[in-house]
Amino acid sequence: MRSLKSITLSLALTLGMLTAAQNVYAAGSGGTITERDWTFSGPFGYFDQASLQRGFQVYREVCSGCHGLDYIAFRNFADLGYNEAEIKAIAAEFEVTDGPNDEGEMFIRAGIPADRYPSPYANENAARAANGGAYPPDLSLMIKARPNGANYLYSLLTGYADAPAGVEMPDGMHYNSAYSGHLIAMPQPLYGDDVTLADGSDASIEALAADVVTFLAWTSEPELEARKRTGIAAMIFLLVMCFVSYGSMRYVWSDVKK
């Protein structure tokens, strides 16, 4: 009885502290967020490879005009289901500055799988100059860098609308129901049917947004599938060990009189 009480006490304590902690970061954006079911959420989460490939296509044809993907190399696209030859072919479609060569000159060559995904701008100043002073952030970690990242980004991409009557729109700003304060510098990137998907699937704005969010969830957490699979194995092992160690403790303690 006593021990049951103290276990409950410890758990209650822990939960109390965690809830207090969680409250912190949920505090939030002030925008309207749509909650969706993602294949990659939950302990059994995984990435849908077809969706990843479509999302990559959307990123490449739409987002990559302004947003970089600094932490992703072409070789990482093996996770998307591409084989080595396909990855080499994708990399070769990009031009990469390399060097200096033996003459001391920088030179342009075709990309190879080891290259990082090329940035759209030479540096932050160039990016700001091209975007009216706003800096399009790198997207590699975007889903982890925003509270409720996947739902937030999905809501942002589908949240563009005409400003309600009475809202004054400053020059170069756009109305977005998901964005904190509703005024965002980024123009609406997706309208639906902006990309002709390679697999011919639905190109509505919702489908495109979901695909690119899936792709960016992968760029944020490429280890996600391995992590969750390892986690399931670890939990099974540990739960068995809980019973084993509990049993051995009870056996050892069987001769102690209360």
């Binding site: 103290s6 304590l13 965690l18 902690a21 970061y25 540990l238």
Partner: protein, 419 residues
Amino acid sequence: MEMQNFKNPVVRWIDHRLPVFSFMHHELHEYPTPKNLNYLWNLGSLAGFALVIMIVTGIILAMHYTPHVDHAFASVERIMRDVNHGWLIRYIHMNGASFFFIVVYIHIFRGLYYGSYKAPRELLWMLGVVILLLMMATAFMGYVLPWGQMSFWGATVITNLFSAIPFVGESIVVWLWGGFSVDNPTLSRFFALHYLMPFLIAGVVILHIIALHRFGSNNPLGIDVSGKQDTIPFHPYYTSKDLFGAVVFLTIFASAVFFYPNFLGHPDNYIPANPLQTPAHIVPEWYFLPFYAILRAIPDKLGGVLFMFGAIAVLFVLPWLDKSPVRSGRFRPVFKVFFWLLLLDCILLGYLGAKPAEGIYVVLSRLATGWYFFHFLIVLPALSLVERTRPLPQSISAPVLGGGAMAGAGAASKEKPNA
């Protein structure tokens, strides 16, 4: 310490010259421990376990990390993406800090409830508070290392606290930074100190254990051990119990590491540090929130800093604030109520520390801060004088008052010499 007669000739040869085996046998095997400890007494060994996890994963991370403002963030991402199982090592370390604090906070509240700080364990308790302080410094500097937005701005806010010191404050801050803002020199020294301090913690932990073993563990009844019938050898009884506790801890810990690794973190720390852009709300890690709430509750900067450190300082002198001769809260009906109020107060402070310092939150923060100090400085000394405590049992073996003493000697049967 009695020398043991070990069967193994090599062990015996070594032990005769260097009695480490006798020492271990004495302190980890036959060490007499009250037989009535509940699961809350698992948290001490768990804290030691968490420290080992942190040191091991930390050393591996240090092999791959680059303490430079231009490379720190990218090197952490490299660990997450390109180092074999780097994500696992880093998530264990990152969540390990939180779980270390969870374990230690439960450990502290257990001590508060059962009066483990009272004579003759005052130094044991004070060494524990030293460990807590060292842990806080270590955790704070560790959080700066990934060089995300919260790393940078957290470091800026906390180091700026020292500027509240009259006359020399500004100079001290410049000295801490190694420059005129949080920058590369700050990052390098935080890395060096973050690597050093866990070993200082380990040193104080050894002192903590030496002090513990002087009089042995307190127990849920809070009464002294009256004889052999009240104790059992540490091994195999508490080793098996600590092992079970450790597996339960690992199960909960693993579910966080594998399934919700960023639950306790702040999303802003996945944005690289930017000295030109202040985040909307700068919040420390959750385990600092109660102290952060106290800091902000006081309208004066120096006052806030003093109260924040005062919140720890009252723990140092706690053995002299609570003079009640009864240790365990079980026999102190009024104290018990105030204990739970204090716990709620600390959770409330944690909640308030996460909220913006405006409106009702400021008022509540001040009330909660007031209650915290009221508890330690007024309630505990007053209760020591006026509280009518319930009668204590005669001994651990006879927990029912006036009941016949049972012989608990059966426990010795598993304890064969040289087993």
